[in-house]
């Protein structure tokens, strides 16, 4: 007989996730997720204490997200992202094609240490400004930023909030993490860069003239603040690496980095009282909290275990496990967005029946799929949705179908090389 609690949990989950993806009447994603979480509690699927405990258990993730938003926002205020754009323009030496690669490389570096969202949300408008100022077609360059935001986000545990979630289950320190995922990351970045250059070789073929030093000077309103912020970001990057190596909670490291940058700004030019409100998004934190409770609800009635059990029942070796994990979250990311997709898979994988030699490959495959999969469609992640909006306004010659065509070339290619590289690390 069907368990009414399971039916209620499944129905609330489906309706809430559908509302997050479709956004009826422009309903905020965070409100949809929070209402779904309340529904889980109201229908008795989980009790309020358990909902609170579920959210509090991910304190490191919330600290990480908050720290990341502040670090990125403060770096932006100091001109860090504009300087990156100016340096990319200078490095290109007048070639539109080299600029494409330079922006792609800058995006990969920024994504590695400041996350995919920083690249998508902050670097995208900067790249748009640079391309517009140089009178280049902005579309290839905007494509480069949106794709590298996802493709470059395998590199480190801090490159994508999804990685923090997976790291919480794998418990890998930095050395083993890099041992398994750095080859996959570098291969995916190389393949993506090469494909972008190939696909946009005509649109990016224009040349330009630029006084990049003047551009850089204009990008940096306060040199002292800029230099101190760069030093602060270097400390943050080093702390991330050290924290990952020592197994410290990365949320605490990110929060510490944010405090450091706040103090630097305070010392140089003071802080506006609105600084937290300007850079922190409570909506994002509410969205993640709502998703955590929603997934806990379907986990409590055994639905996630059933889904992941079905997915992993026939896995025999690490290659299969990597591929299954990657495929599950890559597809899930495009159906229900990458964060809920990963939460569902991790929840099911944590039930205990996934063990032995396939557990770690499956979990890391899950991360690879969730990081790279959103490039397939414009709804895979916030960054690609934002990108499409910008492109639609500027070019409009690019339809969703055309995006899908490009995504259909880039995403399977990057997924394939990443899965092969990751799988190969388990053969040693």
């Amino acid at each position: 007989m069907t368990d009414p609690r399971a039916v209620a949990a499944g129905a609330v989950f489906v309706v809430a996730i559908a509302a997050v993806v479709i956004r009826p009447r422009r309903l905020d994603e965070s409100i949809a997720a929070a209402l779904g979480a309340l529904g889980m509690v109201a229908l008795g699927v989980i009790d309020p204490q358990e909902a609170v405990a579920t959210v509090l258990s991910q304190w490191s993730l919330f600290l990480f997200l908050a720290g990341l938003m502040l670090i990125s926002g403060l770096a932006d205020t100091a001109g860090f992202f504009d300087a990156a754009g100016a340096l990319a323009a200078g490095a290109a030496r007048g070639s539109g094609r080299v600029l494409l690669l330079a922006i792609f490389a800058a995006g990969a570096g920024i994504t590695a240490f400041l996350s995919n969202d920083a690249t998508a949300l902050i670097l995208t408008p900067v790249v748009y400004s640079v391309a517009t100022r140089l009178r280049l077609n902005p579309i290839p360059y905007l494509f480069a930023t949106t794709f590298v935001a996802d493709t470059g986000s395998i590199t480190l545990p801090v490159s994508n909030p999804v990685n923090i979630l997976v790291a919480g289950r794998t418990g890998l320190s930095l050395g083993p993490y890099l041992g398994h995922l750095l080859p996959a990351s570098l291969a995916a970045i190389a393949v993506n860069g090469a494909l972008l250059l190939l696909l946009f070789r005509r649109q990016a073929a224009r040349t330009f003239r630029v006084d990049w030093r003047a551009m850089l000077a204009q990008a940096v309103p306060d040199r002292r603040l800029f230099h101190l912020t760069c030093a602060g970001l270097f400390v943050v990057a080093a702390s991330y690496l050290a924290g990952s190596a020592l197994g410290l909670p990365l949320g605490a490291v990110a929060a510490g980095g944010a405090v450091l940058l706040l103090l630097l700004q305070l010392a140089v030019r003071g802080l506006r009282p609105t600084v937290l409100r300007e850079h922190l998004s409570l909506s994002l934190l509410l969205y993640v909290a709502g998703l955590l409770v929603l997934v806990r609800g379907v986990e409590a009635v055994g639905l996630t275990t059933a889904v992941v059990g079905w997915l992993t029942s026939a896995l025999r070796g690490p290659f299969e496990a990597v591929a299954a994990g990657a495929l599950a979250t890559a597809v899930g990311a495009n159906l229900i967005n990458n964060v809920p997709a990963v939460l569902v898979v991790l929840s099911g994988a944590g039930a205990g029946h996934l063990a032995g030699p396939v557990r770690l490959p499956f979990l890391l495959g899950t991360q690879v799929g969730a990081d790279l999969g959103p490039n397939l469609t414009p709804v895979g992640s916030l960054s690609t949705m934002l990108w499409l909006v910008i492109v639609r306004r500027r070019g409009v010659e690019l339809s969703t179908l055309q995006y899908l065509k490009l995504g259909a070339v880039v995403t399977p290619a990057t997924l394939l090389v990443a899965v092969l590289c990751l799988g190969a690390t388990f053969l040693r």
Partner: protein, 157 residues
């Protein structure tokens, strides 16, 4: 004849050369209009606003606006430099708004006899067929109160 020519960020010299081939401009007055498409910022704000408290900070919006105006100035200067060698009279107008809508309105307001637009800004593939006309040219074709000359041009490099 008074001709309104829609000038984009790129390709104005090629567009004017093609127009001059189709209809020599030596006795015409040409109004070169570049429209900064400022709707993008609004839509970005709308979409980012769901998860970001300050979607586009003031300094960022300002930087985008400056870049757009700088590109517009250069495009208009470049077009004017070419047009003065061809036409009896040249006037330049830089506007902000939705390009198709603004061009259609300008044609009426400025008493133009003809509107000339490029089929697409980035004219990589110029074969007639689906998707060969960009959104701005499409809007002008649909809404301009004055006759419209659609120029497909030679492939850009």
């Amino acid at each position: 004849m008074r001709i309104l020519v829609g000038v984009a960020e790129r390709g104005a010299p090629e567009l004017l050369a093609e127009l001059d081939r189709v209809r020599p401009l030596r006795e015409d007055e040409v109004l070169l209009a570049h429209v900064i498409d400022n709707g993008m910022r609004g839509e970005v704000e709308l979409h980012r606003g769901h998860l970001m408290p300050r979607p586009l900070p003031q300094h960022r919006a300002r930087a985008i606006g400056e870049a757009e105006r700088e590109a517009a100035r250069l495009a208009a200067e470049e077009a004017a430099g070419v047009a003065v060698r061809m036409a009896a009279g040249v006037e330049v107008s830089v506007e902000e708004g939705e390009p198709g809508r603004v061009l259609s309105r300008l044609a009426e307001l400025r008493g133009c006899d003809l509107v000339a637009v490029a089929a697409r800004v980035d004219r990589g593939d110029l074969r007639p067929g689906p998707h060969s006309v960009g959104h701005t040219a499409r809007f002008v074709l649909d809404h301009s109160p004055r006759p419209v000359l659609l120029l497909r041009g030679a492939p850009q490099r």
